[in-house]
């Protein structure tokens, strides 16, 4: 590990920082999309009040189309959040793997030099 600390230079540090930021942003993105999904629920409720003078449950009984449309729209929003989350997580872990790989090769280079 000590050897690895020596090999860990500013380039790796930059990648490491980007990786950490991506990790943090992934959680923020999920939280934002969850709030967006809740907001969408409220939007449907407002729509039900304006168009049908009822609440969300009333909307489902008056217009059965929304029984399917509502959960699918919510699922779509959550899925978008999930996609961004996975992409950011993937970027974070991918960068860490690149750092690890580079350090492995640098170690090898140093060992060859010593020999």
């Amino acid at each position: 590990m000590e050897k690895q600390d020596d090999l860990f230079d500013w380039k790796h540090l930059t990648l490491w920082r980007i990786s950490s930021s991506a990790n943090i942003f992934s959680l923020i993105v999920v939280a934002i999309y969850m709030l967006a999904a809740i907001g969408q629920g409220f939007q449907y409720n407002t729509f039900a009040q304006n168009q049908y003078q009822t609440n969300l449950m009333g909307l489902f009984s008056k217009a059965p189309f929304y029984i399917f449309d509502f959960p699918l729209q919510i699922a779509k929003t959550l899925m978008q959040g999930l996609i961004y989350y996975l992409v950011l997580k993937g970027v974070a872990l991918g960068l860490k793997m690149i750092v690890e790989t580079d350090i492995n090769y640098r170690e090898k280079k140093i060992e060859e030099g010593e020999e």
Binding site: F65, F68, L72, M79, K89, L93, G94, V99, N104, K108
Partner: protein, 183 residues
């Protein structure tokens, strides 16, 4: 040689607290502890407390781990079993992420297909209680085409990048694994 090995295990186990040994004895995990270790624990407990508590049914395999391993491909098992594990990331995290990406990629198709169906004019009219005739459905062909195109495009722009990401992670992990061998 065998005697020396036994003595070494005895010395190591003898350093442990009695409660600790009783716990190991009762848990009876035959995967984690060898038969010789159990013989020695029995001997030590007999010496220390004069009796040996009853044991649970022997644990011969760790079911959860085996079930999890069954789902893994050979190269993934090799990565997990490798003695030299990476310092900067956890292999299991990558495998879980890859698995989740594949699941979400499948979910994308299902959700967009259902959304596409709901956007079709004749489906909407069905919900309103109107069944369109064949000529009526033919009139909605532009709507069907536009819906098909937009649904297909939505699936493509979400599904393929996700699948690509899963493959990139896999390749990066293999590259990293191979770089360990050159050390």
């Amino acid at each position: 040689m065998k005697r020396e090995f036994r003595e070494q295990i005895y010395m190591e186990l003898d350093l442990r607290e009695t409660d600790d040994l009783v716990d190991i004895w009762q848990t009876n995990d035959r995967v984690e502890w060898s038969d010789i270790a159990f013989e020695i624990i029995k001997e030590i407990l007999n010496k220390r407390i004069g009796e040996v508590p009853t044991q649970n049914e022997p644990i011969l395999e760790h079911e959860e781990i085996i079930q999890e391993d069954d789902k893994l491909e050979d190269w993934e098992t090799n990565l997990l079993d490798d003695e030299e594990q990476p310092e900067f990331y956890d292999v299991l995290n990558i495998l879980k992420l890859k698995d989740n990406i594949n699941k979400v990629a499948s979910a994308v198709i299902v959700i967009y297909v259902f959304l596409g169906l709901l956007n079709l004019q004749f489906v909407r009219m069905l919900f309103q209680g109107t069944v369109l005739s064949l000529s009526g459905i033919v009139q909605t062909v532009p709507n069907i085409l536009v819906t098909l195109f937009s649904t297909g495009l939505s699936i493509i722009v979400s599904y393929y990048p996700l699948k690509a990401l899963a493959q990139i992670l896999r390749i990066l992990m293999e590259i990293e694994f191979n770089s360990r061998k050159v050390k």
